[in-house]
Point group: C2
């Protein structure tokens, strides 16, 4: 008998195998026992027939409780009706460890209860499916940037100053000084792009925000590419190719997981570059036409993003935002300095902004002016200013929020399910 994982079961049709896992669920119809077995790589039904295994083995198997760890021995049989296409005709089952009554039952649990038991909740088919999609998105991201000549440059987490203001920052003592947890690696990526041309970072970022919405996490992961000699237009093209690539890979590798999640696949199949674009000016008009009380110069809230997204069946770029409401480092439009060469990418189906990006200011004098206007501490930014002193070049970049992307692709109501151990307001356990 050969040991295998459920994910590889198709290779062993007709053969006897050993699978090491847990009992996910069981039901009995008198003389037949159906054991739902999971091993982390997948789920499979094991069928035990009393007359074939004998009374002793059958009674032993009947006593095994949900989430007990078990090693099963059986023959792989094709079964078209099974989600995996196979079932196991069980010969024997060995109990590794008997679990007492499992706290997560079939019945509906409240969110707080599930979050308190996140370490166990992760075992459910839905959570496993989300984690597998997340894994594909991360791997596809790395692949995409690797194929396109980018070098991974990890940005520091502990930083001396804030990228965009000092509110919503976690602070910690750093020996004789203070450090802050990074909200973005972007400025560091700009330095790295001047060294390695095309770079990206992919790490955790932190926002000490007291907001409690279905789109916000305190701790979340961001992918932040930065490219020397890349201007506004090319930046958008890379973004739409990147997002299309991610979706393509999930469709290639996670169809079964998307099925577990009841995701409408056709909506994802439609996500192919190029993506539509709308200027901020036109987006404001669109919102006003839809009866929204918004005027030029206002930032969008989540409901506005949803209305804009509803006008398109793909992610949509909103371009050329007012300079006033965007970050200090964004390059103004050469003919219209009141707007910047920035774009946010808004996901379809109400999932909101998943990318923010822009061309950056390359001009030293303008950058110095902006730093002054925004009351930023010049000494802390000296190294960033240096990038415009020694061989400044046009450059652009963007940041994609991993969890919002997972929420969109998986079709989830709340970002709390997109990350293994979510950190929220009042949620630091487990």
């Amino acid at each position: 008998m050969v040991e295998t994982r459920i994910a590889d079961i198709a290779k062993f049709e007709g053969q006897e195998v050993i699978i090491k896992g847990w009992l996910y669920n069981k039901r009995s119809s008198g003389k037949i026992l159906f054991l739902q077995i999971r091993d982390g790589s997948g789920f499979i039904q094991g069928v035990m027939v009393k007359n074939e295994v004998g009374e002793e083995i059958f009674e032993k198997a009947k006593e095994i409780t949900q989430e007990s760890s078990i090693i099963v021995y059986g023959t792989v049989k094709r079964e078209e009706r099974a989600p995996s296409g196979f079932e196991l005709i069980l010969k024997d089952v060995e109990l590794v460890h008997l679990a007492p009554t499992y706290p997560i039952a079939k019945k509906e649990h409240g969110v707080d209860f599930l979050m308190d038991h996140r370490h166990l909740w992760l075992r459910s088919p839905r959570q496993v499916a989300i984690m597998r999609v997340r894994n594909t998105i991360v791997n596809a991201t790395r692949e995409f940037f690797d194929k396109n000549g980018f070098t991974l440059i990890d940005a520091p987490i502990l930083t001396p100053s804030a990228c965009e203001g000092t509110t919503n920052l976690f602070e910690t003592e750093y020996f004789d000084t203070k450090a802050y947890l990074s909200q973005s690696g972007q400025l560091y990526m700009e330095a790295a792009a001047m060294a390695l041309g095309k770079v990206y970072c992919f790490g955790p970022t932190f926002r000490a925000e007291k907001s409690k919405t279905r789109r916000h996490l305190i701790e979340f992961w961001m992918i932040e590419p930065e490219m020397a000699y890349v201007e506004f237009e090319e930046n958008l093209q890379i973004q739409e190719q990147f997002v299309s690539y991610i979706v393509e890979k999930v469709l290639e590798k996670n169809l079964a997981d998307l099925k577990v999640l009841d995701r409408d696949i056709s909506k994802l199949e439609n996500i192919k570059a190029p993506f539509p674009r709308i200027t901020y000016d036109d987006a404001i008009k669109l919102l006003q036409e839809k009866g929204e009380d918004i005027k030029w110069g206002d930032d969008f809230g989540a409901p506005h993003e949803t209305i804009i997204a509803e006008s398109f069946d793909k992610p949509v770029f909103v371009t050329h935002y007012p300079t006033e409401i965007k970050a200090f480092y964004m390059k103004p439009h050469p003919q219209r300095p009141e707007v910047v060469l920035a774009a946010d990418l808004i996901a379809p189906e109400g999932y909101g902004e998943i990318i923010g990006g822009s061309e950056r200011i390359a001009d030293l004098d303008l950058l110095l002016k902006r730093i002054e206007e925004h009351n930023l501490p010049k000494e802390a930014y000296q190294w960033y200013i240096d990038l415009r002193t020694y061989g400044s070049v046009p450059h652009s970049g963007f940041g994609l929020g991993l969890e919002r992307t997972v929420a969109w692709i998986c079709g989830l109501d709340h970002v709390r399910e997109t990350i293994p151990f979510p950190r929220l307001l009042n949620r630091l356990y487990p």
Copy 2:
């Protein structure tokens, strides 16, 4: 003319190309100007002949300073003596931005000066080479675990309690409570392994340690795989395969970078699984024979690790450490409870421990006893205890320190060069 990157130059032999980059260095021999050009993907020599380009272009090119950003136009010519195998016969050069005197000159600079200018220092060939090797190691890591059926599970950075004691932790206010920056994702990986079988995390970890050695960073990245139903011996096999895979990939992709770093390739070519093993008992005897003042029960210091490593030409596993000096969650040897089923992997050439790993305690009662013995707060560990309550299984895992691995593979004296923006005692800038 077609725009290309230096890394792809071989495809354009005999053709006219455009390269966008920076002037790394220049020298002149009267009527010939040699421009060292870098674009982040590589370095190439451009040759400009006065008689061919004319006085105006030649004089313009002569005025370009080090680290000025430039766009060059030229023909790709095979040149066996060049490190890249090619040079560019320049037709014209366009100045994008003229740099004032570059602070990092050819002369030797002190470490503090270079660290203060890390954002510029990163542009030097040596630093670029290190970052490229780091990039390969990271990608090879992801590939290895992906190919072997692991799911990436990001561990949280903000945690309510410490994995191994509360000293050396960075603390921050987390709304109405306190959070600590993670030193290890391992305990979370144990929970995830019970859900997904084979998992790993790969993120930043933090140690607020006042030590100033060439092996310590305050912020560093760790790869931490965890595997259900994997016991001590198999854990070691996966580790040696993993480390061999990393080295193989670096040798495949970064030969030119290793040359820049003057790395002795033959030492790396020898790194193939299986790796030698020595028990802690025998390692103590070995050290005593070499005249070291050490006795059974003592932990190894860096000099001890170096002496042990010198007896082998591959990384060496030191196995079965005393239970007393190891973490609370490590499984004791069934016949010798005074030692644990743990192993550290010590890199050759004095680079010290790069992996620590073990089989974990699966037994609920023993875990509870250890938590008590180590005075750990039981409530904070309740979720971790649950893993031994609901379907406990034998499981093992390990943690590899990325920066020490980069230091070893690149042959670096100090870990400060292994990470883009190092965080050290008294070093939080840039």
